[in-house]
């Protein structure tokens, strides 16, 4: 199966693995919101301690978290450098034209760096400890209140299940089309941007045709089995709220309150 589906999830039985996906999802959003309120060394330290405890409780090696930082490394370096060179105030150590380095700019640069790490770490914890299907289930649960305003949550949940089911199938088909094109001498890995795009566009047509054929077959099969609506589907796996979720929420809420108290107003 494709890297997309199982590439990042690491099976395990840790505390974090056993939490319900909707709880983990909401805790991640909540944590990112709390990060927005952090503005001094104590607030960032509290959040760093909390995330380190979560990392330890996930039972996943720190190396996996460092891998999560790698794709964003240039954005992090560029942002921290801009913050250091353009922030004003405090004791100036170095000055050249519009650039200056002061104690305030160094502290701000440090805060931005920690902010990046915290946001990446919480996202990585969620991905490494939750299967894509569980994440999809969590998203569906989180969206459920929208049913009150007649948002088609159940129909979209069914679409999402179909989407995840077909990712590996369509990935395989894309690989087959890529190989077929390569065997005809098409080179996707070299040449100018224009050349590469011209080579890639013809992939889309057979991919779409194949996808529509799958859709027709599946819809015929569903109708033949009496499918009429998406609102009364049963589930193979049911994720329930557990005591671990409640305890985790209490801990996160306490740290959130602490951050609000110790931040600079």
């Amino acid at each position: 199966m494709s890297n997309f589906l199982f590439g990042r999830y690491l099976p395990g039985k840790s505390w974090v693995h056993q939490m319900s996906p909707q709880s983990k999802l909401m805790l991640s959003f909540y944590f990112v919101i709390v990060i927005f309120f952090a503005n001094n060394v104590w607030t960032y330290a509290s959040l760093s301690v909390l995330i380190l405890i979560v990392v330890v409780m996930s039972g996943v090696s720190i190396g996996y978290f460092l891998k999560g930082i790698r794709p964003l490394i240039w954005l992090i370096i560029f942002t921290v450098l801009l913050q250091i060179l353009f922030s004003s105030g405090g004791h100036v150590y170095w000055h050249f034209g519009p650039f200056s380095v002061s104690d305030t700019s160094l502290i701000n640069g440090g805060y931005i760096f920690v902010r990046f790490l915290l946001i990446i770490m919480i996202s990585t914890v969620l991905t490494l400890t939750t299967t894509p299907l569980a994440i999809a289930d969590g998203v569906q649960t989180v969206l459920k209140p929208l049913k009150k305003v007649h948002f088609p949550v159940d129909t979209l949940a069914l679409m999402l299940s179909i989407a995840l089911r077909f990712v590996p199938t369509l990935m395989d088909e894309m690989e087959t089309i890529l190989n077929a094109q390569r065997s005809r001498g098409v080179d996707f890995g070299s040449g100018s941007l224009k050349h590469r795009i011209q080579a890639a566009v013809p992939l889309l047509v057979p991919l779409f045709t194949g996808a529509i054929n799958h859709a027709e077959n599946l819809s015929t099969a569903m109708e033949a089995r009496g499918f009429t609506d998406s609102e009364h589907r049963s589930k193979y796996r049911v994720y329930r709220w557990q005591r671990k979720d409640t305890i985790s929420w209490v801990a996160f809420l306490l740290v959130g309150v602490l951050v609000l108290f110790i931040r600079n107003n």
Binding site: F86, T127, M159, T209, A215, S219
Partner: protein
């Protein structure tokens, strides 16, 4: 099936499955990039444009939003609702300009220009500013340069794919 309010058009079973498979293609093609380093083009926008053409702004923006949420969370990238809003707006713009309408160069250029300037350059840079406190005015020119290069390419691909005989056949198969 119950009729849906909020303006969502009622779907047949085949429409639900097609939109599900479009979501799947969004997840796959969103990660299939062509180009080098910063000049990378992903083909997710083609799927969004086709969904907009076939099913209108509401359904296309709904699947774009879900694909953004799931794609981000599953791949371990940082999830931020602002980028989901960008995905919704991009798909809604395609749907508004293409749904039930003839695909002309004028339509494609206007739709893609709005997305490139307001969604990709301004909004997405602003989300980065909120999320990481990146300096907005320092990043905006870099992202604008990328849009200047990529937008004409995206326009050409959309015009070519949306007017292709294959898509006409797909439309005939699904709706006639």
């Amino acid at each position: 099936m119950k009729s849906l309010s909020l303006g969502f058009r009622k779907l047949r079973v085949v429409d639900i499955v097609v939109l599900g498979i479009f979501m799947s293609l969004l997840l796959i093609l969103g990660r299939f990039t062509v180009g080098v380093q910063t000049w990378r083009l992903s083909f997710g926008f083609v799927v969004t444009a086709i969904a907009g053409l076939l099913y209108g702004p509401l359904w296309s923006s709904s699947i774009a939003a879900l694909a953004d949420i799931i794609g981000t969370l599953v791949s371990g990238n940082v999830y931020f609702p602002g980028f989901t809003l960008s995905a919704i707006l991009g798909a809604a713009i395609y749907g508004y300009f293409f749904y039930g309408k003839e695909i002309t160069w004028k339509r494609v250029i206007i739709a893609q220009l709005i997305i490139a300037v307001f969604v990709n350059a301004i909004l997405n840079t602003y989300w980065l500013t909120i999320l990481y406190k990146t300096p907005f005015l320092a990043y905006l020119p870099i992202r604008m340069i990328k849009e200047v290069v990529m937008t004409p390419i995206q326009m050409a691909i959309i015009y070519y794919v949306l007017n292709s005989q294959t898509l006409q056949n797909i439309q005939n198969k699904l709706f006639k």
